[in-house]
Point group: D3
Chain length 269, copies 6
C-alpha cells in the first residue's frame, strides 16, 4: 500500500485542521508514492526509536512529538535531528507526526485514550475545538468510585506505564476525588478550565512550582503530575489498533516497546 | 531598628541592580519608618507562612519569591494575594523580596548557598552578571570525590530538605560525575552554559520533557531535577546568619520551619 | 451591610463590562466580608480625601479616578499611593473605583450627570457603547435657549463647581450656541464625533494647544475647556443619591466637601 | 538673497540634527533658488498668519510649529493645510519650520529665550542634548529675588504676552520660589528632571489633570501653566534679531503681530 | 466645469473604497473649486509628463501611480517630487491618482483594460474585492485561439506599447497556452491565484529571480514578464474615453504621448 | 577527503560570520564524516542541477542560493524542495550554501568576481562589512576606458553568460560611463551607496519599475539590469579554481554547465 493511503487514513482520524497554529504535524520525511508494509507508533522520534525502525524494517514511523518543531534551514547529519532524517531517508522509512491534532481528536486521540484508561465516565473535552463537540483538548469525567487523593495517585501509577519519577500530587492527600480532569502532555494551562468544570483534580505533566503553589492558595482542583511520556503513551495502542482496522489488515502495525521518558533514576527525598 | 535600616542591610547583600529587568524585588508592603524587632526568612509568601509571621509577632517577612510578579491594579482582600497584603499591613508586618538579585549575589546568594551545601570546590557563576566576577546565575565546581550519577542523586537527596517528589536524574546512571553545575529554581535554560563549562551534570528544577529528551540525544551534561523549593531553601539559613551579623544582633532573625514545596504526596511509578 | 452588597449595588449601576480595556475599575483595597456603615464619594483618591475618610469614620471611599492605573508590584508605604493603601487598610476602609464604566453608564453616569446639570434636552451619547443605546461616552443635546459662546462660558462657570482656572473658550465669542456636546474628563478625542453630531460647541477638559489650534482652521464646533475635576464632579451627588436609594437607607452616603482640582492660583494674563 | 542662504543661516542657529526623531523641521514649501527680501516669524502657520504673509509681501514665513507634523500623501486645497500650501506657493512664499531643534538650541532657542525673559540667572538645560552643554530641552536657573508662588504667577503673567486664560499655579500659593525650571510648549514630561535639578517650580504649558494631581502628592516642584503660545512667543523677537544680524541687514525680518493662541474667551470659575 | 465635478466622475468609476489600505489615491494637489477645461491621462507623474501638462495648458493630470506614496512632511522645491507640486500649483493644474482602486475597478479598470486588449474571453477577477463580483485584482480568461508560449510572448509584444526590454517568458516555449491570467503592474504575488484558476500563464511585470525559479520547479502557470508601464498603459485610452463620455464632452480629455517606462536601451544577451 | 575538510576550506574563503542575519548558509544535507571526491558549483539548487549531481557522481553540490531560505518543519518528498533533499541524501551527495557570505567575501566572492570580469580597476566594496576593508557588498571601480551607456550595456552583454532577456539600461544612452558600481543579485537597495561613491552606473538585477523611475528624476547613477543568474555566475569558476587549489588537487572540482536563469524566451517589444 502506498504511503499516500496510510497518510490519508491517519489524516482521517487526526484531522490536521485541529492542530494548533504553531504546531508542525504531517509528513516530516518519506515519499507518498513509496510502499508501506510496516508501521510503528512511538511517543518520541529519538535515536533509539529510529534504531528500532531500522532494525525491524519499518516503513513508517508515526510519533506524537514533532522532530522539527523549531523550523530548520537544513538537515545536515552533524545535527542530531538531521542525522535521524538521513538515517530514515536512506532506510526508506517515513516519519509522520500527529501532535495537537491527535490531542484534540474526538474519538481515538491522546486525551480520549488517557480518559478511557483511567475509566472516566461521561468524559467530555475540557477545551472544545472545531465543530465536533467530542473534539478538543483535555477531558473531564467521573471516576467509577470516589477515592482520596492519595489513593488516586496510586491508582494512576498502577494504570500508566511505569516511570522512575512516579506520580506526584499537590493538595490535601485525604481530599475525596470524584471528578477528574486530564490533559496528556504539558497541560497546566488548563487549570482554569478544570476548575470551571468542577474537577476535583487535574492530572497532567510538566507542572512547575509557581502555578502549583498558587493553586494551593485558592479553592480549586488538586493537581497530579506524571511523566509527560506516560500521559501520552496510552494513545499508542489505541491509535495502532484503529489504523490496523482502517487499513483492513494490509499493513502490519505495532507499538514501540521503548520507554522514551528521559528520566532514568530516582532517589527518594 | 527602623525597617529602613534592615532594608539597607538586605540591599547591600542583594543589590537590586542585579535583578532581571522583568523581576519585582524590594518592599511589597510595610513602612520604612516603623521599627523591626523580628525578621523571618521563607522561600514563598504563602498563607501558611503569613500565619507564622502573625503568630510569631514577626515584623518583616523576607521571601525569595515575589508575591506580585504580575503587577496589579489593587490588592482587594477577595484576591488571595490581596488578602495576604491586608493581613500583613494590619499586623504591622512588612514583606520584602530578594529574588533574581539574590540568585546572582556574589557571596551569600541562592546559587552560592546551593553550591556550598553540595560541597563544590572552586565554584564560579555559570552566567556571570554585573562587575563582580563572583556574581551571576548558577554555579559550577568540582565534587570532592567523583561518583556515579545514581550516587550523585542520592547524595543530593540526603543534603537538600526532604520533599515528596525526591530527586530525578536523566542520563546513564553509571556515568561518573566530577564537575557539577547547579542553578536554584527553574534553571533549564542554563544547559548550554553548563555544557560549555564542561559540567558532567546540571542540577536544577522544573525541568520539562522536551529539553530533557533533546539533551539525551547529544553529548553534554546529565540532568538532575529536584523540587524548586528544595533548590532554593539552602539560602535561607545563610541569609539569616548574614543579616543577623549585619545588624549586630539588634534584630532577631530566624528561618521559617514550613516546607513550602506544594507537592504533598508521591506514588512510585 | 457587608461591603459585598455595596459593591453589588455599584456594579449594577456602573457595569464593569462598560469599562475600557486599559482601565482599572473595581475594588482596590478592602474586604468584601466586612461591614460598611458609611460611604464617601470623591473624584480623586488624594491624601486629603483619605484624611477625610479616616476622620469621618468612612468605611468605603468611592472615587472616579483609579489609584493604581499603572499596575504595581507592591504597595510599600514609602510610595505615596502605597501609603494611602496602608492608611486605608489599617483604618478598615475600602477603596472602590468606577471610572470609564461610570463615564459610559446609561442613566446616572458622569456624562449623563454633566448633561443634566447643563440642562441639555434630548441628550444622547456621542460615542455609544454596549447594547443599551443610552450608554456611551459623552453626551450631545440642546440648550433650552440659544446663547453666544461668551455667554455659554459664563453659564458653564456658574453651574460647575468653582475652580481657580475658570472656563476658557475657543472660537468666535459671538457664535450662537444651540447644540452642546460634553465629555467629562479628557474628551478632546471626541471632537470628530461632536462635529458629526452637529454640535456648536464641545465642552470638555485637558485640551492642548495643537488640536484646539487645528480646530480653529476648519468649520466645526467651538471648544470650551473646564477643570477636569469640575467636569466630573456633577456625578458625585447623583451617584450618592442613587446609592442611598439602592441600599434603602441602610448605609450613610455622602459626597466629599474637598475640591480635588490641583490648581490653586490664577493670575490674569 | 536666495532662500538657500537664509536657510543656511537658520540651520546654523537651529541645527536640524538637534530635532527629535519624530519631528518635521526644515523647508515645507518654497524654492531655495528664489530670492527672499522679507522674512516673518510666527509661532503657528495658521490661515491668519498666511493672510499676513501675503498682504505684507513676505517671501519666507518661519514658524515654530510644523504645518505637516503628520505626514501627508498630498496637499489638495480642500484640506485646510493643503490650502495654505497652495496659497503660499502661488504667492511665491516659502515656509520653514524650526521646532524641537529651536527648543534645544544653545544660545538663541525657545527655552533660552523664555529663561532670559524671566530673568533666570545661571540657566542651564534641564535635559541636555548633543555635544554642546548649553544645548538641550528646558532651562533651570535662579530668580533674581525669591517670591511666593502667587507672586511668581503674577510676575509671569506680566512678562509673557497676554492670553485670555492667564496663568495657573498648582501648589501652596505661599511657597517661596527661588529656583525656576521652564520648558516652552508641552513640557510636563520634564517634571522629574525639574525635581532632580532642585527647582521650586516648573513653568510650562498643556498640563493635564493627572500628572498635576500626582505631583501634589509628593515633595517636588510646584507647577505653573501658561498658554502654549505664550511660552514660545519670546523666541520670535530673539530669533528675528539674530537672523537680521546673520544676514547683515540684507533681508527685512519682522515678527508677526498676530496672537495665535486659540483661546478667545475666559469666564472666571 | 469645476474640478469637483471631474473628481466626482472619476470616483464614480474608480471607487476610492476599493483601494488598498496602504495606498494613496485621490487629489494630490489642485483646488476643487477651480475650473477644468483639459484633462490628461498618464501612467507616471514624471517631470516630462508635467512638462507636457504645462505646455498643453492641461488643468488636471490623472495618473495611475501616486506621486507621494511615501507620505511627506513638506513639498519643498529642492525635492524632485516637491518641485513637481510647485510647478503644478503655479500652473493652476491639479494631480489626481487612481491606483489600486483603478486596478480593481469592475468595468473600465487597469486589469479589465489589459484583459480586453489581449482579447481574453470570459475574463473574471483573479482576486475578487468588494461586493461587485466583477471587481478585483487581475483577470483570468481564455484566448480566442490556443498558441505556444513562444507565440504568446510575440502576441503580447505586438499588442502592448513598445518598450526596449520587450517581453520575457519562463517555461517550456512550446507549452500550449489557452487560459491566461493577467495582472497589470507588479503582480507576482497573484501566482497562487492564477494556478488555482487553472491559468496556463500569468502575465505581469517586475518579476524577480527567486519566485520565477521556484515556479519552474512545480506544475503551474508559465510566466510572462512585460514592462510595468506597458502592462498598465492600456487603461489610459479606456479611462479617457469613459471620462469624456461621463462629462458629456464638456471637457477635453486626452492621453499623454509620452512613454514613461524608465528603460531606455537594450543589448541582446 | 572527508566532507568536513571541504567545508573547512569553503568556510575559510566564505566566512559564515559575514552572512546576513536572515540568511541560511552552510550545510543543508550531507554527513561531514563521509568522503568527497567530486564537487560541483552552481548558482541554484534546481531539479536539473540535482540531475547533473547524480548523473556525474558528484559528492558535494555547492550553490550560491539557499534551498531552504524559508525554514521548514520537514522535508517530505511531496514538496519539490524535500524531494531534492531525498534524492541528494539517497545519492550520498551533500548540499552546501555560500550566499551573502560569498557576496561579501573579500577576495574571491561574488561581487569581487563580477567586478573582475568587467575589468574594474581599484574596485572596493560599496557597503563594507566586517573588519577587512576589502569585504562587503557590491563593488565600485573604474572602467579601463570610458564609453557611452549604450556601449556599456553591449560590453556587459558580451562578458556575462548569455540570457534570453539580455541587458537593459535606464538613463541617457549617450551618457559617458567611467565609474561603475556593481552588485550581484538583487542590489537595487545599493543605489544610494552607488551615488555616494560617485558611480556613473549601477549594474545589478531584479530592478523594479518604481525605484528606476524615481532614479530618472534625480541626478545620480544610470542603471543597468541583467539576469540575476548572470550577475552571480562569474563567481562559479573563480570559486572552483580557489577550492581546487585549497584542497591541493585531491578533489575534482567543476562548474555546472547548466544555465539556471529561469527565463526561456524573449520577444522584442
Amino acid at each position: 500500500m502506498p504511503l499516500r493511503e496510510v497518510i490519508a487514513a491517519l489524516d482521517a482520524r487526526y484531522d490536521p485542521a485541529l492542530a494548533e497554529s504553531w504546531d508542525a504535524v504531517g509528513l516530516v520525511c518519506g515519499d507518498p508514492d513509496e510502499p508501506v508494509g510496516r508501521v510503528l507508533f512511538a511517543v518520541d522520534p529519538t535515536t533509539a526509536v529510529v534504531d528500532e525502525v531500522i532494525s525491524t524494517g519499518t516503513d513508517l514511523l508515526v510519533t506524537h512529538h514533532p522532530l522539527l518543531l523549531t523550523p530548520v534551514h537544513g538537515v545536515p547529519a552533524e545535527d542530531p535531528k538531521g542525522r535521524l532524517v538521513h538515517r530514515l531517508i536512506r532506510a526508506g522509512a517515513g516519519l509522520f507526526v500527529a501532535h495537537t491534532n491527535a490531542d484534540r481528536a474526538p474519538g481515538s486521540g491522546v486525551n480520549a485514550a488517557l480518559a478511557d484508561l483511567l475509566g472516566l465516565a461521561g468524559a467530555v473535552p475540557l477545551e472544545p475545538a472545531g465543530d465536533d463537540p467530542r473534539a478538543g483538548l483535555g477531558r473531564v469525567g467521573e471516576l467509577r468510585a470516589p477515592m482520596p487523593l492519595s489513593a488516586f495517585a496510586a491508582h494512576v501509577a498502577a494504570l500508566l506505564p511505569a516511570t522512575v519519577g512516579g506520580v506526584r500530587a499537590a493538595g490535601d492527600p485525604g481530599r475525596v476525588i470524584r471528578r477528574v480532569a486530564v490533559c496528556g502532555g504539558s497541560g497546566g494551562s488548563l487549570l482554569p478550565a478544570a476548575a470551571a468544570a468542577g474537577a476535583d483534580v487535574l492530572l497532567t505533566s510538566d507542572l512547575k512550582h509557581h502555578p502549583v503553589s498558587d493553586a494551593g492558595e485558592v479553592a480549586g482542583p488538586a493537581l497530579c503530575d506524571v511523566a509527560h511520556y506516560a500521559s501520552e503513551w496510552p494513545w499508542l495502542p489505541v491509535a495502532a489498533e484503529h489504523l490496523r482496522g482502517d487499513l483492513a489488515g494490509q499493513v502490519e502495525v505495532s507499538v514501540s516497546r521503548l520507554r522514551t521518558d528521559p528520566w532514568t533514576w530516582h532517589a527518594a527525598g
